[in-house]
Symmetry: C2
Subunit: 255 residues, 2 copies
């Protein structure tokens, strides 16, 4: 969405995820089966091809050296400085939504820089995905990381209800529940007060509800959460989490 | 996405758009052909049915009184206070995008409260919609207005290129162009400076580019625009306009 380094990237075959916990220039790294498939079968890369490899917060220029039995082995060349993470770790806690809207949220929130993505089955929504959903969301998140130049991959958690979802966030997180037309303070003010009282990079868990709103039992599960409002217009369930993340990240100077 | 008045709404058949420029309680109003069709054929409403009618910034409780020859006539009962408009008029200027993403942007930005939606054919994107696109976007915007409780309908403009799109905004608008990794100030700072120098409810035109970035000629067309950045991560073309609107609206206390 603008000018920039995109043309530099077209010189390589794109970004591939790998375990880079022990990475340094000159190291040889094997890509996973799916990443190898994409590199070797879809893109038909040949030894010598330039690519980028990222994971765990680091990013390297690399070159394909071997491809045997469906596994691509690359040699790391030099590190690339990834974009700095936001100064706040946002754990988005959103309902499962129909029609690909959960995937959409996972994609957008990953680009925006959230620290973790938690999706739950809401009491007032019929979306009850099967166990394959977490895997699909993981693929969406990975693709978004590749696209937006993140070098880390936010964890994806799926939960059978909101109470279980809330357990997946960091224990020390600030916790916000977004309530429509509730008389609660605006989210921007809540985010500002969290910033004022927190040193370092705080974690903030933000829970939003489905189209039908939270069930009373779900609101009870959010005991000790700070209520916050997104103003007088009613935002859809796949709009509110995006606005919420944008507002909190703005408070921390992200944009 | 929360508790609230939603249950009140279920007592009526929903919100219908009409020309309410001369509206007062007791007035009889004919709905358009498409709104009549939805009320009479899809929802099978009968005289006496309660509904809401909105348009031009006002919103009324109403009741169906007649339905002859496919036209629904309603009588206005009492006005409902619509949500106040944001304290800034945002004119989102976005590229046409493939795969329903322009419609998606129109929906989300309408919910968020923008004043106008302008879509243009970008030099570096292949999306070149036909003349039916404006109509489809208009339907999406109308549906979003119904859902989010807006009583006004933001205009939709389509343009063959960015230069023409820019002519569609208010002449006195502040103008912002979002550039990736450009060294420009963060959008939040730009919005704060616009707020500091503007009295009343200013208009702000915000131009974002396609996935491939702006073409140099497009950037030239944005002469006198203030450049702004959305930080170090690369946002997709259908993410950046949402973040931009959220940030500017936050500056004006919307959330």
């Amino acid at each position: 969405v603008g000018e920039g380094v995109r043309t530099i990237l077209t010189g390589s075959l794109g970004r591939f995820h790998a375990d880079l916990s022990q990475a340094k220039p000159g190291a040889e790294i094997s890509l996973s089966a799916s990443e190898s498939h994409h590199l070797l079968r879809v893109l038909r890369a040949r030894p010598g091809a330039a690519l980028r490899v990222f994971g765990g917060g680091v990013d390297f220029m690399a070159r394909l050296v071997r491809c045997g039995e469906g596994t691509a082995v690359v040699i790391l060349e030099h590190p690339i400085e990834p974009p700095p993470p936001p100064r706040v770790d946002i754990w988005a806690t959103v309902p499962f939504l129909k029609g690909g809207r959960t995937e959409f949220l996972a994609e957008k929130l990953t680009e925006m820089g959230i620290a973790g993505f938690i999706a739950y089955s809401a009491a007032r929504d019929v979306a009850r995905p099967g166990p394959e959903k977490a895997e699909r969301l993981g693929r969406v998140v990975l693709a978004a990381c590749k696209q937006c130049e993140r070098a880390d991959i936010p964890p994806v958690v799926t939960a059978s209800n909101l109470a279980n979802a809330l357990k997946a966030g960091p224990a020390n997180a600030h916790r916000i529940i977004l309530l429509e037309r509730s008389g609660a303070s605006r989210l921007g003010e809540v985010a500002a007060s969290i910033k004022a009282e927190s040193a370092g990079r705080p974690a903030v868990m933000v829970a939003t509800g489905p189209e039908g709103g939270f069930d009373p039992a779900e609101i009870d599960a959010c005991d000790h959460f700070r209520p916050a409002s997104l103003g007088p217009r009613i935002l859809r369930a796949d709009t509110a989490p995006l606005v919420a993340a944008a507002v909190i990240l703005r408070e921390y100077g992200e944009w």
